[in-house]
Subunit: 272 residues, 2 copies
């Protein structure tokens, strides 16, 4: 009854480079897996775009990843997971978005049933986290805040404690969560784990922060026990982006929290 | 020797909706002209993308506008004007970018020869304003600041005096210009005129603020005296965007500073 190994790569799709926070977790938890990362850096950010456009871009991304022979796809992008996964045409391999796994983690963690959700305008407008949480724990109360300035701050390299602008914006966005007394906060966008120190300091140590990318990787690790993991000690990573690769290493290292090891290739995914 | 009227529309290209600050000037200064506006809202912002990608997007936009039979094109986008206009394949009609006209206006205005330039990271990295100013007034000194947080702030509807985040970010970005004692500041991105009140209050009334979109429209008005303007009293406007038109009216009115009058159509310009 041994599960046969499956050495095809795991695909990771994100609107940009933020999804590398999920790759960081993959490299740690499943080091034997090959990874194919697709970051749509030529069209990032998705969080302020329409549903229709996000669905189109997502289907193009799935088509590309299937061409790379992936065995499954992790959608690291909170916006795509919230807005497009119920509507886009799915590929013939398992797709794991971040919403379900993060909602499950938040429900498992909360003690007082009050859960905060931080996300892009598109993610919050979709109500995806709230709907999922309501199904899992009907008594839960969700408090959601759209945080349109978090991605630009992180992209500008500004997420350190003590940065006055960062501290001011974080305190503004978190105020309703603090007033509500939430004990769990979902960091509902790939970029937000980089702000975890500042957010954690504002919320206090009694509040659990949920990193959806890390939850998705844990889910995949668990699923692969039944479906077949790679049987090599160390996999390789291939990174594909839709904008120039110039500057990739610097930005990528910020999200990976380590230097990039793997090939980086610019591709076109617009047709389709 | 009378110049024959030319009733073909004027094309305006921008990466998003910020270029409507130029349309606002066109509607005021040249009300008889038909306008075809193209905002690449499905791929905005350009200011953090590579040169290669910005050139590709610009050529696609020119091809679309030529299909609309425009007699000339105003490139309202500071990033496109700075990064792509010297390199992209130009269409067979006059193209007016914002860099040359704004540099000329700044040189005409400055008394102490110290000019501040605010722009997106791509605009500032290009050095386009500085190079142009150096040609026009070799003794001028330029002080340039990349302002990656201005566009996200304006897009989030935050540009009012008294908004604590806006005031803090503006004071941070303007500090080097104040220390340098500039008497003229180029607002080198379509979004920045919306921050003119806050920027003006920080710089003081003795400092001239240059709005590149308004300068481009004045240049066109002047050129059309020789080339042929429309001979109708009131033109019409057509707006084309690459993302959904949902939410267009609200955002557009912010930049136009009036309600939108004209058709709004979603188009695809990706192939090409």
């Amino acid at each position: 009854m041994a599960v046969r190994p499956d050495n095809r790569p795991i695909g990771v799709f994100d609107s940009g480079l933020g999804g590398l926070t999920a790759v960081k977790e993959l490299l740690t938890l499943l080091p034997g897996e090959d990874i194919v990362y697709l970051g749509d850096t030529g069209r990032v950010p998705y969080g302020t775009r329409s549903t229709e456009t996000i669905i189109k871009y997502t289907e193009q991304a799935f088509a590309f990843l299937m061409g790379q022979n992936v065995k499954r796809i992790i959608v690291a992008c909170g916006t795509v997971s919230s807005v497009a996964l119920g509507k886009a045409k799915l590929p013939p391999v398992p797709v794991t978005g971040v919403v379900d796994v993060a909602a499950e983690a938040a429900v498992a963690r909360t003690k007082n049933g009050k859960i905060g959700v931080l996300g892009t305008p598109a993610t919050i407008a979709s109500g995806a986290y709230e709907k999922r949480i309501a199904k899992l724990l009907p008594s839960a109360e969700c408090f959601s805040v759209a945080c349109p300035l978090f991605v630009p701050l992180v992209e500008a390299g500004r997420f350190q404690q003590g940065d006055k602008v960062v501290e001011l914006v974080v305190s503004e966005y978190l105020e309703p969560l603090q007033n509500a007394g939430v004990d769990t906060v979902i960091l509902g966008c790939t970029h937000y784990p980089l702000l975890a120190d500042v957010i954690g300091a504002h919320m206090g140590s009694g509040v659990a922060l949920i990193n959806p990318g890390a939850e998705a990787v844990q889910f995949v690790a668990s699923a692969q026990k039944k479906e077949g993991a790679a049987d090599r000690p160390l996999g390789t990573a291939k990174y594909f982006v839709t904008d120039s690769v110039e500057g990739f290493a610097l930005s990528a290292a910020r999200f990976l929290q380590r230097p990039v090891a793997g090939s980086v290739t610019k591709i076109e995914i617009e047709r389709g």
